[in-house]
Amino acid sequence: MAPNVKNTNPGATGPAARSRISSKHQITIAKRPFQEAGFHEGDVVEVRALGRGRVELTSLDALFEKHRGQIGTGGEFGRAVRAFRDEWE
């Protein structure tokens, strides 16, 4: 691994680190980006290709927290959606 690669990503919080993809498509995330991303051992991550040569890892817990119960409509949203379907009655 070669740490301290110049950071060219404005969204990144620290310098990049390198890892090699194994024959089983596995990689090791270097300690610093691992910690800065707030990952923990045992985390389940979503892996998304962002185009040629780029992937994004997102912790499932982070995604859940982002969307779970993000609004409180007093139940109005659900009632509205049920009403749309009832228009077909």
């Binding site: 389940v44 979503e46 998304r48 997102t58 499932l60 995604l63 859940f64 982002k66 969307h67 779970r68 119960g69 993000q70 609004i71 409180g72 409509t73 007093g74 139940g75 109005e76 949203f77 659900g78 509205a80 959606v81 049920r82 749309f84 379907r85 009832d86 077909w88 009655e89």
Partner: protein, 149 residues
Amino acid sequence: MGVVLLDSSAIVGYIDHDDLLHRSAVKTIESAIRAGSALTISAISWAEVMRGAFSGHRDPAAVRQFVVDFGIEILPVDASVAERAAELQATYADRAWSGGRRRLRTPDTLILATADLEADVEVILAGDDQWRQIRGIQARVKLLREQRD
């Protein structure tokens, strides 16, 4: 669980913490994702949820982001789905099947037909208990339960 098709009620239940299905939707959807299930929705559900969003219940961009972040595939309604839906609607045209409560509505049949024809869909996650009475659908209906504080 293989592929899970979310009905509109499941999506709204997940993102609205006031919804009566919220706790059940959170538990079931997150369990499915952790177990490696892929999520899908019918274009019909997508239309309903986005109509709710455009009506002011949620920023439409945030709803789109929910779909993107969870990699949810939106399944189209094509001629085969329409034909299967018509078959279901004819079969369940009479209120008698539901104990006289109501007919099977067109959106219900289009969503159920979508799940039926999409071979990978194993579970339909919904809040409508009448869907469990529909026979001949290859996917199993898992019911979200209302929970009040």
